[in-house]
Assembly symmetry: C2
Homo-oligomer: 320 residues x 2
Amino acid sequence: MAVYTEVPDEDLKAFLAGYDAGTLLSFKGIAEGVENTNYIVHTDRGSYILTLYEKRVDPGDLPFFLDLMAHLSAKGMTCPVPLRDRDGHALGMLCERPAALISFLEGVWVRKPNVEHCRALGDTMAAMHKAALDFSGTRRNALSVGDWRPIFASVADRADTLQAGLADEMERELTYLEANWPQDLPAGIIHADLFPDNVFFINSRLSGLIDFYFACRDALAYDVAVCLNAWCFEPDLSFNVTKARALLTAYAGRRALSQAEYDALPLLARGAAMRFFVTRLYDWLNHPPGAFVRPKDPLEYAKRIRFHRSVTNTREYGLD
Amino acid sequence: MAVYTEVPDEDLKAFLAGYDAGTLLSFKGIAEGVENTNYIVHTDRGSYILTLYEKRVDPGDLPFFLDLMAHLSAKGMTCPVPLRDRDGHALGMLCERPAALISFLEGVWVRKPNVEHCRALGDTMAAMHKAALDFSGTRRNALSVGDWRPIFASVADRADTLQAGLADEMERELTYLEANWPQDLPAGIIHADLFPDNVFFINSRLSGLIDFYFACRDALAYDVAVCLNAWCFEPDLSFNVTKARALLTAYAGRRALSQAEYDALPLLARGAAMRFFVTRLYDWLNHPPGAFVRPKDPLEYAKRIRFHRSVTNTREYGLD
């Protein structure tokens, strides 16, 4: 939530001159994106997002992300699309950082998603999974089951400062997940971070998906499991089975889920919750005092893990 | 440079419903404005700035600022204009803060102003001064000569940590300014903060002025003196007499400066530099460690004070 790189006006004008994007009218740094610096750019052709990729992003991954957005857009999905410069490149350099000029996607993210929002999400996520089936790029999920333990281990000795017994509980949970993680589910390109702030609506219509910077190849049902965590818990962390049913039914209406996928959902949901638990725990315990960005509470995800651990039957996700 | 208040989507929609501003398409917090929270709002009617006024602004001053913008715009100046809601009010409440929806002014602020930019600024500043002559609102300059000493006194005991002898030097300077400050110069509404980031250009054309939240009634030539400080020093703090000549000549071409105003310029420029010196010194010495906003170096303004103190003749500002 910050502008890490201040772009001088002359540098931006020189950068834009490489594109067929019109005359610069204004640009303003926006307070979104924890990983990158983003500006809204207005030209006489329209609105764009200028993204400068900061240190936390591997430059080698950027062609995958940008090509994926272009692919999905070409298949009819609404998502931001990187412009190509006059030499055909989607990725340039600005202020010594990799940078891309991306179409501006209108839409508002919903702070309090309701059942209809969950239904629209399920439908659109399935459409995205299908649209990406013939995408030739690939990228390993850098935050999959084998990656959680090293992150957890680096802060485990301080985990009990948040809650007594937390370190032991999550140690056991990790061991269980590692031993039982499903390997043969239908795989494809997943978004991997489809939280409400990455899904735009205009009025009640889903207007598009953004922020593909965690996208990777993994089990498609894992994306669904991320969304069960991100969309179907109420602020008091009670699970809203009506939202889950709407999400899962809409998804399956567009892309059928196999029995193996249904059976794996509780375990995938535990894993998805663990993925966000470990990164939040790390950020929480490595947060510089006085820093501007307030870290998110990892215990919210510990509670989600416990909920999914209690699920013995997908009926508890609202399925018949 | 921050979003202090996160506005939920539903609250913004309810707020916008009070205006004839179209359907909300998107809104994003922007990393500009040290005092207030600002969002870029896109609707199907166009682009707007939504400003939430935070603690540092006196709510009693807001009608003056908003009415001034409306007045200047009605007189043909390009500046942001507050929209009136269906009840005719320019000021509303959002997230428990005073808030205004303001037209979006296109333009880019120039990081390295050249002589032509200074010329355009002089001309437009004079036009603004004339356009405001029949504005009925008034507001005391809360950062005028009598206000500098209390700010300085609150941190003077630590001033020498920046530079040996600084406290004594500025103490003497304040005494001189207080004793000699001119009282009878032509007065009117001034912007009082016309730094480059508040002056927009599209290509080389000045496209408008923004951020009237320091505007007040004071000597018109004091506004000119602020600009001599803000626009006519090079990054190495050498004074660029060509820029000063362009600025002053263009100003006088639209609004004649009296002999008394010319004669007062070196003193006004010392005072204007002191105004920014004391607030920067205060922010520098009261800066919470680790805070996100990096304070600006007050010594840059100590050097400007010394330059203007050395000026014995307005020829040194490029005048014949």
